[in-house]
């Protein structure tokens, strides 16, 4: 039995310590906004925050995050500047990769409130099959503006 803190709530989960965090979040805790895309850490659809930093949850073991603060898309609050900017720009197409994209961007903005285009391309490595990259970039700049006004 592991004790995990996800979105501010403590969950006692009956999983092996080596279980990928992704599957604990989805199958055991039941938060399905975090997506499975590749299982090898490439696509970033499974991105969550651990202590505010973006990580690929398919490559993170449950045992590694005991005592840490895990945040998923459901814990971002819905009115986070990145989510507002995403809505304003109607960014998602099929939307499957977007929770991961949003989590990656939220972590980037926490670290770099005003990222350049170069920061965005080098730091946000999440993949999008529908090709919403340009709309995302515009939304990231908008999110930075929204955040600075709060």
């Amino acid at each position: 039995m592991l004790s995990l803190k996800v979105n501010g709530r403590v969950f006692a989960v009956d999983v092996e310590a080596e279980t990928p965090l992704l599957w604990v979040i989805r199958d055991t805790i039941g938060l399905t906004g975090t997506k499975y895309g590749c299982g090898v850490g490439m696509c970033g659809a499974c991105t969550v925050h651990v202590n505010g930093k973006a990580v690929r949850s398919c490559q993170t073991r449950a045992g590694q995050v005991v005592g840490q603060e895990v945040t998923t898309i459901e814990g971002l609050g819905g009115t986070h500047p990145v989510q507002e900017a995403w809505r304003d720009g109607d960014v998602p197409e099929c939307g499957y990769c977007q929770p991961g994209q949003i989590m990656a961007v939220a972590a980037l903005l926490a670290k770099k409130p005003n990222p350049t285009d170069a920061d965005i391309t080098s730091e946000i490595t999440n993949l999008c099959r529908c090709g919403t990259y340009s709309r995302m970039r515009d939304a990231i700049h908008r999110a930075a503006q929204l955040a600075s006004r709060r």
């Binding site: 090898v40 304003d88 939307g95």
Partner: protein
């Protein structure tokens, strides 16, 4: 009477850049939090649940009016990123004249469609059909409902219908100023029969369609609440990880279930197979991870059968040989093409080859099923729910009426999720397990058991006259495909040349393999248009003419091609918007391509022209800088915002395939397994995409959703030739040395 819509051209033409947002987005931002929240509530997270319209009164199968004036629209097409919930609702609301902020949307019930003799007409989503096929009957459903609501109000007040007006769901009796809301007359309206169906609006009467509307689908995708098939959770549900025969059509020789039965959470190990189900083994467990990690340890012996040594290299060799055999089937024969070519002084000949490509949807294949003695229930994101129901019924013996399929949001489809092999597999497993089972294919399983875009090889020969224009054309295509796609897709787009050529021969062969194929966004065109539009570029070069001017000449001189004028309009739009002929830095050039997505089986076309602006470093590194996509809209463009995004998607998808994607076969099985060897386009590779909608024809077009992709690769490769002098006749580009001096 011939119908000529009057639309102010300047208003209608949408020229917006994906970069900087521009026109389309600026108009439609929500003004405040309350408005944003209202949008957020318009689609439920589980789109199949008929919860939204439960309290209302059904006016017709398409729509329910609540006593609180909400209007719930039933959407009978699958949503995988096109914004179908929005466009479908718009087509009804344009006529219904209700309050858009009170519109709710949910999937139409597949079960009802089956029970009530296809009440929703058609529930398969393919061939860019969501708008093309349904617009008329949806407008009619909206208009009919409006007139019944109006008639109900007229009856209640005992006044003539002609004295009533309606605005945003409020009916007003003009002489007295009295008003009634839709919700107040819905009950009465439900029993009203109209003496005759009302006329639907023509485009010049639209107040809502043809203008950009924010996507109802967005909020659910931003807070993580949208339920994709893979997210479904059913009480008592188990999880399955699956492994299908690595060699297609192979069999399971044996496996040792005891090796994994005692692993944590494992429930059972089952073997599967059957009609249209690849043989394999599944591990069932209490979580996907338990199932997957046990499956990885399960010893399985396979028998690859007769295809164990087949390879895509071998398929190409087979096709190249077939190029020298007279085509088994002749599509076009006009004059004496071979004779003219054989006696011509100037002949251009080229052989083109394209590999298999995977769809690589972000959401891996999956399906959840629960099969009992007399009822089957399935949760999946499918492009073809009605076909799935029929297949479930066949596999289980349960009548279609007792099959309940709950369609989910799709983490894209691109044609792959119309095959329903995920549904069949889940059903044969669930039948054995007796409890609800969610079957998830790993990324590797999804990629290695695809329904790939067919490989294709072609040879083009063209004779040029003294003026450099073609006098004869011989096209021979070798389709390499499983039985699925059939001839129409092999020849699609090449069956009738838009360009003027006096002598023409087009013949082809089909060669079957054991590798499964399926429709891949643009279906046939991403192969055939690459061949044709590259070859036209080769002819222009041989003639010493500018590729844009050359195409103009071919079209202007063709009296047999009624759409030539419209083509020229779209072609010149792409050229002008891309500043064709304007100066570019060294190592950068433009390439052009055009086509109209014509098919043998239907009249509609969508004319699309693309100019790619591309740089190539001396070392041969390709960078797509910008794509200008000009597309004819005809009189209807239901939601320009959604249309523009779908075109951006096609540029990115077409570019990824052209630059770096291929599925190869060795020893009968797929070599690639994940995004490291089948890479998607990355953020840094994405070009600027400028979409230019232009009204070039007066008839409804063939659609938007896959009518641009075919011209991405030829425009790109024609630009590469302009920089490097190297002609690209096969893809992907990663296999080519494009260095130049």
């Amino acid at each position: 009477m011939h119908f000529i819509p009057k639309i102010n051209r300047r208003e209608f033409m949408v020229t917006s850049f994906s970069i900087g947002g521009g026109f389309a987005l600026g108009l439609v931002f929500p003004q405040n939090q309350a408005e944003a929240a209202a949008i957020a509530a318009q689609i439920g997270r589980n789109p199949w649940e008929a919860s939204l319209g439960k309290e209302g009164i059904e006016i017709n199968p398409w729509l329910v009016v609540g006593t609180d004036d909400t209007v719930t629209i039933r959407v009978a097409q699958s949503e995988m990123g096109q914004g179908t919930f929005t466009s479908w609702s718009k087509m009804i609301v344009e006529e219904l004249e209700c309050d858009w902020s009170k519109v709710r949307a949910e999937y139409a019930s597949v079960n009802r469609h089956v029970r009530e003799n296809k009440v929703y007409q058609r529930m398969a989503t393919n061939s860019s059909s969501s708008v093309r096929v349904s617009r008329q009957y949806l407008q009619q459903a909206g208009a009919s409902a409006r007139e019944r609501l109006m008639a109900a109000a007229a009856e209640q007040w005992a006044v003539p219908r002609s004295e009533l007006t309606v605005n945003a769901g409020v009916i007003t009796h003009t002489p007295t100023g009295r008003s009634l809301r839709y919700g107040q007359v819905a009950q009465k309206a439900a029993s009203i029969r109209l003496p005759k169906e009302p006329q639907i609006k023509t485009p010049e009467q639209f107040t809502f369609m043809n203008k950009p509307t924010r996507m109802l689908e967005t909020p659910l995708r931003v807070d993580g609440s949208a339920t994709y098939g893979i997210d479904v959770r059913i009480p008592g549900m188990l999880y399955a990880a699956v492994k299908q025969s690595p060699v297609f059509l192979g069999t399971v020789k044996k496996f040792d279930a005891n090796a994994v039965k005692k692993r944590p959470g494992v429930h059972s190990v089952v073997r599967f197979g059957g009609p249209k189900v690849e043989e394999g083994v599944a591990v069932i467990a209490d979580s996907y991870w338990h199932a997957k990690s046990a499956l990885d340890l399960l010893p399985i012996e396979w028998d690859g059968g007769t295809h164990s040594n087949d390879s895509s290299k071998g398929f190409f060799e087979m096709a190249r040989k077939a190029l020298d055999e007279p085509g088994a089937r002749v599509v076009t024969k006009k004059g004496d093409a071979e004779g003219v070519i054989n006696s011509s002084a100037k002949v251009v000949e080229a052989v083109y080859e394209l590999p298999y490509v995977d769809h690589a949807m972000m959401e891996p294949m999956n399906c959840t099923a629960h099969v009992t003695a007399d009822r089957a229930e399935v949760w999946v994101g499918t492009q073809n729910p009605e076909e799935a129901v029929s297949q479930i019924s066949k596999l289980t013996g349960i009548p279609e009426e007792n099959v309940y399929l709950h369609n989910c949001f799709l983490g894209s489809g691109f044609g792959r999720r119309g095959a329903n092999d995920d549904v069949r597999l889940a059903v044969v497993i669930a039948k054995q397990v007796g409890r609800p089972v969610k079957v998830i294919w790993s990324r590797e399983e999804t990629m290695q058991h695809g329904a790939y875009r067919p490989m294709r090889v072609s040879r083009f020969r063209g004779a040029l006259g003294p003026d450099g224009m073609p006098t004869a054309f011989h096209t021979r295509v070798i389709g390499i495909e499983s039985p699925y796609p059939g001839d129409e897709q092999t020849i699609r787009g090449l069956h009738k040349l838009p360009y003027r050529v006096t002598h023409e021969l087009f013949d082809y062969h089909s060669r079957e393999t054991h590798v499964p194929n399926g429709p891949w966004t643009s279906v046939g065109r991403s192969q055939n248009e690459f061949f044709l539009e590259t070859f036209i570029d080769e002819l222009a070069h041989a003639a010493g003419k500018d590729p844009y001017e050359y195409r103009r000449l071919l079209l202007e001189n063709n009296p047999d091609f009624p759409q030539a004028k419209a083509w020229l309009k779209v072609l010149s739009t792409a050229a002008e918007k891309s500043k064709w002929g304007g100066k570019l830095p060294a190592g950068t050039a433009r390439g052009i391509a055009i086509g109209d997505s014509r098919r043998i089986t239907r009249d509609e076309i969508t004319i699309c022209a693309i100019v790619a602006t591309v740089s190539v470093s001396k070392q041969g590194k390709v960078r797509a800088e910008r794509f200008d996509v000009a597309m004819d809209t005809g009189p209807f463009l239901v939601n320009p915002l959604a249309a523009e995004r779908q075109i951006e998607m096609q540029v990115v998808m077409g570019l990824a395939a052209a630059l770096k994607q291929e599925i190869t076969i060795e020893k009968g099985r797929v070599v690639q397994s994940n995004f490291h060897d089948f890479p998607l386009l990355t953020r840094v590779e994405v070009p600027q995409v400028a979409v230019h909608f232009v009204r070039a024809t007066d008839k409804p077009i063939a659609g938007i959703g896959e009518e641009a992709l075919g011209w991405v690769a030829p425009a790109l490769c024609n630009a590469i030739f302009a920089v490097t002098g190297k002609r690209v006749r096969s893809l992907p580009l990663k296999n080519h040395d494009l260095s130049w001096a």
